[in-house]
Amino acid sequence: MEITLNGEKFTLETGSNIVNLIDKLDLNADKLAIERNLEIVPKSKFAMTIIEEGDKLEIVHFIGGGEE
């Protein structure tokens, strides 16, 4: 199925959840949040959130530096 990831078309196996997506992208879930259709998905719901055709996902990297 096709989704939009960070503004670009991306192909993903049907039935994938957010953990599957993060694994596929080889990212570390502890460093980022996932935005799905304009809403941050709570980390504890990653495994149970099934991505659907046409979903718009964005990877939101954590920023901690206000820098002093």
Partner: protein
């Protein structure tokens, strides 16, 4: 603060706004705001909140002014190099508005002193440079029921949100805490600071000013709060996005079965 002709003139452009008016301006004058970090984000916060007449501003920072700070930390100047940032920022703020009180806390905020510091203020603006501090600030704000307006920047990106999970009613999808977004400190290699990656100086003004705007809105109580939303600034592509940030039912702090239950100086 006494209402004199000078007062009415100084704050006239606020008083003219029906959302602020005389009563809103008085709320600002009575407010006590704690600013964590007198750096890139802290600077515009300190200056705009001082200008707005926030009656008491506390500044926490244990650093001294360095030459490499001056590209963006606009509450400091070349003559202050080597001096504590809190003192430098205080001088700058009082030059704008001598009628306010500035409390300097020349120390590093940690889990031992955070409750003591935060409990003395009404609202907290966090612009610190690391996740550990952000999490400690969040935990104390939750324990002491203080709204937290949090902002962060890196390179060309900024993120701003307001957290007041203590106001959440059971089962409500409103009002997350910072840990609903960042549950724990990310692994070390990710905790890159601006010293390593760079940051566009003017972007600190954009993001810090949005943060100051949200602090003023929380104090006066007008407009829409950023609680429950994450505001993302992309300075490269000129994109400002606001997305939903719901509470995490399994948040280690404000979730149904919290694992963080001991907070120093907790009421």
């Amino acid at each position: 603060m006494e209402i004199t002709e000078e007062y009415l003139e100084r704050y006239s452009r606020h008083i003219l706004l029906k959302e602020v008016g005389g009563p809103g301006q008085k709320r600002l004058n009575r407010a006590k705001v704690l600013i964590i970090g007198a750096g890139g984000l802290g600077s515009p916060n300190i200056l705009y909140l001082a200008a707005a007449g926030v009656g008491t501003i506390g500044i926490v920072d244990d650093d001294v002014v360095e030459l490499s700070n001056l590209q963006r930390q606009i509450s400091h100047n070349s003559e202050e190099i080597g001096n504590p940032k809190v003192e430098s920022a205080k001088k700058c703020a009082l030059r704008i508005n001598p009628d306010i009180q500035i409390n300097v806390h020349n120390e590093r905020l940690d889990s031992l002193n955070s409750g003591q510091l935060i409990s003395k203020y009404d609202i907290v603006a966090d612009g610190s440079d690391n996740f550990d501090t952000r999490l400690v600030v969040n935990d104390s704000c939750y324990a002491y029921e203080k709204p937290l307006v949090s902002a962060a920047i890196n390179r060309f990106d900024g993120q701003i949100s307001t957290f007041k999970a203590f106001q959440r009613k059971e089962g409500s999808s409103l009002h997350p805490c910072y840990r609903c977004f960042v549950p724990h400190s990310p692994p070390q290699e990710n905790t890159i600071s601006c010293a390593e990656t760079g940051v566009l100086g003017a972007l600190c003004g954009v993001v810090g000013s949005i943060q100051a705007t949200e602090v003023i809105k929380e104090i006066v109580g007008f407009g829409k709060s950023l609680s429950g939303s994450l505001f993302i600034v992309d300075g490269l592509c000129n994109e400002f996005r606001k997305i939903s940030l719901p509470p995490d039912p399994n948040c280690p702090l404000c979730g149904l079965n919290p694992t963080i239950t001991k907070i120093n100086h907790r009421k």
